[in-house]
């Protein structure tokens, strides 16, 4: 299996000395959506910063296509950014209200030098279509869209340059329940049709189970358990995973 991204014994320590991540290792394999699950203080945000190349581990490494990521190697970082794109939790904060949807969605094409002009417009149209938004969305503005639609716009912007990995940070937790399912379905569909591997950071075990075939459970900066989602959920080996699973509110059986 080809690991696109891999953390090898990665630790992260703040300057004050507190440890956010401790010897974390896992691989993002091509075509295997993976969920990184944990609660407050688990180190999810730091982990995401490492995976996005926004911070370097204080020890250990982040590998991209088998080579350690070096933030000073600009050419390689451009390649990395073209391959790894992101969607954030809050669809209201992540879009510039003064930019048309078309301009927002085409931003990675400009900043990463992927396409301009008619080529860029065609790609924006294709991306909006892929996320299920009408083509005329490009000329409209964020305030005209609901939360779920805005998250679709953010996803269109992330996939417009055909990345290989989509890092999604709590992509559905700000959304209403019925919208949540639709966005999860969209992410699953993009994974199947566009050679895209989704890495979802979430506290929501149900959302992870719905989308990801692999799961990494984090607690206080450490990996407590990882494996195939179905195996881990059917027979959690660690007490913390069992507590997490038992805490998920469930519907009574009819």
């Amino acid at each position: 299996m080809n690991a696109i991204l891999q953390l090898c014994d990665a630790s992260y320590r703040y300057r004050g000395g507190s440890v956010a991540l401790q010897a974390v290792s896992f691989a993002v394999d091509e075509g295997q959506n993976i969920g990184l699950v944990g609660e407050s203080g688990a180190g999810k945000t730091t982990l995401l910063r490492l995976l996005l190349g926004l911070a370097a581990p204080t020890s250990g490494s982040v590998m991209f296509d088998g080579v350690a990521l070096d933030r000073r190697n600009r050419e390689r970082m451009v390649q990395f950014r073209r391959s790894v794109q992101t969607v954030f939790q809050d669809p209201y904060a992540s879009l510039d209200p003064r930019q048309s949807i078309g301009r927002s969605v085409s931003e990675p094409l400009r900043s990463l030098g992927i396409a301009t002009g008619a080529d860029a417009r065609a790609r924006v149209e294709e991306a909006l279509n892929a996320v299920g938004l009408p083509a005329d969305s490009a000329t409209r503005y964020p305030h005209e869209f609901s939360g779920g639609q805005r998250q679709r716009v953010a996803i269109a912007r992330a996939v417009v340059g055909h990345p290989r990995v989509l890092l999604a940070d709590e992509p559905v937790s700000a959304l209403d329940m019925t919208t949540r399912i639709q966005v999860l379905d969209l992410l699953a569909e993009l994974g199947q049709n566009n050679n895209l591997t989704v890495v979802m950071v979430s506290h929501d075990l149900g959302a992870v189970a719905a989308l990801c075939s692999r799961i990494v459970v984090l607690q206080r900066g450490r990996v407590v358990e990882q494996g195939d989602t179905s195996t881990v959920l059917a027979a959690p080996a660690e007490p913390y995973t069992r507590t997490l699973l038992a805490s998920v509110p469930r519907l009574p059986s009819v």
Partner: protein, 276 residues
């Protein structure tokens, strides 16, 4: 009971909440809650479920006369035998805390950031039970222990920002229960919390209302959470009730397509966790 609101009392021993044709209207005449009616019996656990913009939180606020400026309630809301619509602030103050109190989603919104938590909790206890000095300090400690706060002394001396979100919500629950209200209104009380903390706080609310015989009005967007906490619900959408009934009835059969979508969404996340 005497007072300016005595005339507004309605004689109904069975219902703790009786909402009849409630409308919440903006200044430009839009109805954010539209012709809503429901009844909560004494001791019952009742749920309001809906997504953003459904009017569920405005309904909860209208129940205790805390609607934001610029919004007007009309119709009838009777809580603990007293009319809450169209009465003055003084009358409402006698009802809040004693008859009904609220726990909000964000405990920081209901806690004073500049006051030690012990003092904040002491205020309603002193007012309600007439305690002072050592007896009051003891009652504060007891109230904290009652919501399962470990180290009550440390937390009594802490400011809100110095404790965790789960601990803050426990303090907010202790404050809401301090005047022994007949009705506890919980508006998305666990939405901002971690899932393991959510589970503990739901247990806490569950136990607190059971032990005290308090009626519960639980407001949430999460059907699984509502079904754990309540027996009967109203489903709200766009300010209107689209369906109501018992939890088990609604899960078995949905008359309204929106309710059906809500149940299907919750079921699909549930199913994803069912691996064998």
């Amino acid at each position: 009971m005497n007072g300016p609101d005595a005339a507004a009392r309605v004689n109904d021993a069975e219902a703790i909440v009786q909402v009849d044709g409630l409308r919440v209207t903006t200044e430009d005449g839009r109805n954010l809650v539209d012709d809503l009616s429901f009844t909560v019996s004494v001791g019952e656990r009742f749920g309001l479920i809906g997504e953003s913009g459904s009017g569920k939180s405005l309904t909860a606020l209208a129940l205790i006369g805390l609607l934001p400026d610029g919004l007007l309630a009309s119709g009838s809301v009777v809580v603990g035998g007293r009319q809450m619509v169209g009465v003055g602030e003084r009358a409402l103050r006698g009802i809040r805390g004693r008859v009904a109190s609220v726990v909000f989603q964000d405990p920081l919104a209901s806690l004073d950031p500049l006051m030690r938590l012990g003092r904040q909790l002491a205020e309603p206890i002193a007012r309600h039970q007439g305690l002072r000095g050592k007896a009051l300090a003891q009652a504060v400690t007891d109230a904290m222990a009652d919501v399962r706060l470990s180290e009550p002394e440390r937390i009594a001396h802490a400011y809100p920002h110095e404790i965790s979100g789960g601990q803050r919500q426990r303090v907010a629950i202790a404050m809401a229960l301090a005047c022994q209200p007949r009705l506890l209104i919980a508006d998305e009380p666990t939405t901002a919390l971690d899932v393991t903390v959510q589970s503990d706080v739901l247990d806490l609310i569950d136990r607190a209302v059971t032990e005290r015989g308090t009626s519960l009005l639980f407001v949430s967007h999460d059907l699984a959470v509502v079904s754990r906490m309540t027996d009967r619900v109203v489903v709200l959408r766009g300010g209107r009730a689209v369906e109501s009934g018992t939890i088990s009835g609604l899960l078995a059969h949905q008359a309204d397509p929106y309710t059906a979508a809500l149940v299907a969404s919750a079921r699909s996340l549930d199913r994803a966790l069912e691996v064998s």
